[in-house]
């Protein structure tokens, strides 16, 4: 009897203490879950650092981003058969929904949006461990980066899905928004960032987005929309800040020594890492591999996948064409046979340079990109470098402002702004108007301006977006892209994987022509 009572009580105990499910949901003691993170300044700052890190990776600014822009511009030509197929397809306008280069840019920017959204949500409300100053600045940076991502996405793909918070479940995907809606988010993000961000940083924080970077991106967005008045307002804020000026040496704009100089408004930072380049999917990991592969891809010695087009090479002013002076920016933008590199220890000869030649001024010669090329100081085999990508610089501000002034009918102001850029100490081109670039009316000034932007900002990833907006707002006399088909090539195709995996996007939602 005693035994039975004992067993019964054990069973009753067992029933009442039967396990509940939560006991089984063991939390990883070595991991940090989302809801227990972002509790102090350091954690919130680490969150936004990871957004910059994604912008910097192989799928975006250290490789596929500049390829996608340049391949869609008229600045480049194929370096030869070494150019990989997806890149050649973009260059020839026959890219499709399976194009791995443009698809990785699409994917990359959306991962930027996601990481930025995580930070924006984490910093949305005040928390005891997070100071208001840090919270404001970090959320401002995240909104700047989200705006940049959506500015690129809207301009390259049109109306894309719009996420203002990160997806909480696999069901969270959205349909396409209109291009205007995406630009509207960009504008509101940038206005918020402009207020939240400081104008300058300490040396240890150089590379973070500033108030003026937000203003410049806002100006670029307004220009895509053809809104010259609002663009002008933003650009004037940058000029009147008095923080920026043109640097004397044009070479300092794309070399390592000139990083964060007085002309620089926003840079994506790369740092020497003993030649280590991060090929990984999102560029993550704590091994130090913070270099960019730009030199290896473009420069004279290396893969030389893309070379400058004959069009841009022949657009520089030259005495042989009747210009008063040959533009010194030509020599500072391209490697040519006979050039000294590797601190003067090596000489550029044709046998060092693989691939196609160009025709300049009637001469056939092997010419290669020099901007962002580390060859000027090394000659060591595989060329990666710590040279920062200058996303925004003051000369571009002056030229955009000149364009706005010209649109507003202020010819004198427009010409004077362009001439500021031409008067750079190492350039010193004679001021407009010139014999080949008269400036008697709006059209002539625009022609001079388009020429000036072409040569001043060559291979700095502004040409593609310039062409897109000029074409859209009927500012082009001739179509610069040889393969261009209207109602198709304005936009890139959405990746097939996006159409296949997003229940709210169907094949019929693909961009026209694809």
């Amino acid at each position: 009897m005693k035994k039975i009572a004992f067993l019964t009580s054990i069973m009753i105990l067992g029933l009442t203490l039967s396990c509940n499910d939560e006991v089984l949901d063991k939390v990883n003691p070595n991991g940090v879950t989302l809801d227990t993170y972002f509790n102090n300044d350091a954690e919130l700052t680490a969150g936004v650092n990871a957004v910059y890190a994604l912008v910097q990776h192989n799928g975006l600014v250290s490789r596929e981003w500049f390829f996608t822009h340049d391949l869609r511009s008229d600045e480049v030509a194929t370096g030869g058969g070494q150019l990989e197929t997806p890149r050649a397809q973009l260059l020839n306008g026959v890219n499709d929904a399976g194009n791995s280069v443009s698809n990785s840019v699409f994917t990359g920017w959306f991962r930027v949006v996601h990481r930025a959204n995580v930070v924006i949500e984490a910093g949305a409300a005040a928390k005891p461990g997070i100071s208001d100053a840090v919270r404001t600045r970090v959320v401002g940076e995240a909104r700047f980066l989200r705006a940049w991502a959506y500015y690129e996405l809207a301009t390259l793909w049109g109306g894309v899905p719009l996420y203002t918070e990160y997806a909480k479940s696999v069901e969270g995907s959205k349909a396409r928004s209109s291009q205007q809606d995406v630009y509207n988010l960009v504008i509101s993000d940038l206005k918020a960032a402009e207020t939240a961000l400081p104008a300058t940083y300490t040396a240890a924080n150089l590379g973070r987005a500033t108030k003026h970077a937000a203003q410049m991106l806002l100006a670029r967005t307004y220009l895509q929309l053809g809104d010259y008045n609002n663009a002008k307002t933003e650009l004037q804020k940058i000029v009147s800040s008095g923080l920026y000026k043109l640097v004397d040496n044009y070479l300092d704009l794309t070399n390592e020594e000139g990083e964060f100089n007085a002309e620089s408004i926003f840079e994506v930072v790369y740092a020497p890492s003993g030649g280590a380049y991060n090929w990984g999917g999102d560029g993550d990991g704590t091994a130090v591999q913070e270099e960019t592969v730009r030199t290896q891809e473009y420069s004279a010695v290396g893969w030389r996948n893309l070379i400058p087009s004959n069009k841009i090479l022949n657009d520089y002013e030259r005495t042989s064409k009747g210009d008063a002076k040959s533009d010194p920016r030509f020599d500072m933008s391209y490697w040519k046979p006979g050039d000294k590199f590797n601190n003067g220890a090596s000489t550029m000869t044709d046998d060092r340079v693989q691939g196609n030649a160009s025709v300049v001024d009637g001469q056939t010669v092997k010419i290669s990109w020099r901007k962002y090329s580390v060859l000027y100081k090394v000659d060591n085999g595989f060329f990666t470098s710590g040279i920062n990508m200058r996303i925004m610089r003051y000369a571009d501000v002056l030229l955009m402002l000149a364009e706005c002034e010209n649109e507003a009918g202020n010819s004198a102001a427009a010409i004077s702004l362009m001439n500021q850029v031409r008067a750079r100490a190492s350039v010193q081109m004679p001021p407009y108007p010139t014999a080949n670039y008269p400036c008697n009316n709006k059209d002539e000034i625009l022609r001079a301006l388009q020429h000036e932007r072409f040569v001043e900002l060559a291979s700095e990833q502004v040409r593609n977006f310039d062409i897109l907006r000029w074409r859209k707002h009927k500012k082009l006399k001739t179509e610069p892209i040889s393969f261009f088909v209207a109602n198709k090539h304005e936009l890139l195709p959405l990746p097939q994987t996006e159409i296949d995996n997003n229940p709210n996007i169907e094949q019929k939602d693909q961009n026209p022509g694809y």
């Binding site: 879950t33 990871a50 890190a53 050649a88 026959v94 930027v112 990481r115 696999v170 995996n501």
Partner: protein, 416 residues
Amino acid sequence: MKSITAISSLKLRASIGQTGYNAIGDYDWQPLISANSTIYPFGNATTNLGSYFNRLGNTGLSWEETTMSNIGFDLSLGRFDISAELYKRKTDGLLLSVPLPESLGFSSSPLANVGSMQNTGFELALGYNHRSTDFNWSLTGTFDMIRNKVLSLATPNATINSGNNADFGGFDITRTEAGQPIQSFYGWQVDGIFQSAAEVAAANALGNDNAPYQNASTAPGDIRFKDLNGDGKIDGTDRTYLGSYLPKFSYGLNWGGTYKNFDFAIYFQGVQGNKIYNGVKVIGQGMLRLFNASTDVLDAWTPQNTDTDVPRAVSGDPNQNTRTSDRFIEDGSYLRIKNVSIGYTFSSESLKEITNNVISRVRVYVSSQNLLTFTKYSGFDPEVASRGNNLLNNGIDYGQYPQARTVLFGVNLGFN
């Protein structure tokens, strides 16, 4: 049973059971922060760390459950053995990664119990034993067939695509969808080669807008893909199922025995009716890069060489001739002599005498693995595994290192 003398044993068997499969990583359900796991060099200092969250969790994650039922018999008829079995395996709560649209911005997909799948199969084994004074041998033949069908799939788009690789055409290669076998090949169908500009122009005139049939750079010598939905334009909706990596049936034959002092064994193995996506052919015939082309490209289409299935040689593949299509699907059937060996053993008495009682046994033999393979598959090796053990990339030959053929000559010595 004693009354039926021909039958020495007979066993009928049937079973039903359920098993769980929990190939779930530790704490996979949790949305984890990768804390301080990436670097961004503000001010050129490589010590600035970043934290990110790039994968959704799934609190609903549970075991994959398989219910198996089978019925069969084992029968011995003197020298013959027969064993047969019919079975059905139904898997619920199938554990797969949910494919996410790029726009969600996650870097990897959460594991989820996304659906159910059924395998039905039949297995047959036949054996024969021969006994006599000099010649003893046994022969075993096996025959397996299996049919797979996905019954339900609860991912956002009710499909899972897989196999995308930039070097192999840039499109996914398999699709999993309810009603089809798991990870069936999925892509476009080839409709021949455009032989003239007139044919290209005629195709471009199809459809109701001015959009080209494939694209503006399509030229004679390019592949014409089939317009399955008849809208005069080739796009993602013209893809279809192109076959399965699962064989219609597989079989084996094992024959081994001894004749006097000789011993021998031979094992044939084969599969029939499966498809392989020949990625090696994408590389070798696709002309996507300046290297690794196979000699197939010598037969590329030219105005003079029109009777070929290799499209024109053109830089940059403007027509996307290398997109996922049945051009690269091949019959993966094969019959292979997996193992063969023959040996001779010297009698021990004479050996002991000759070697002064040191060596008691000598066997010399020749054996070979993968001696002969009969297949129409043009890649390196029809036995294709899944790259990276991805559950949905079986049967895609991304250039797998082929199995070696070995021939081994050997001597076995036995010492006293």
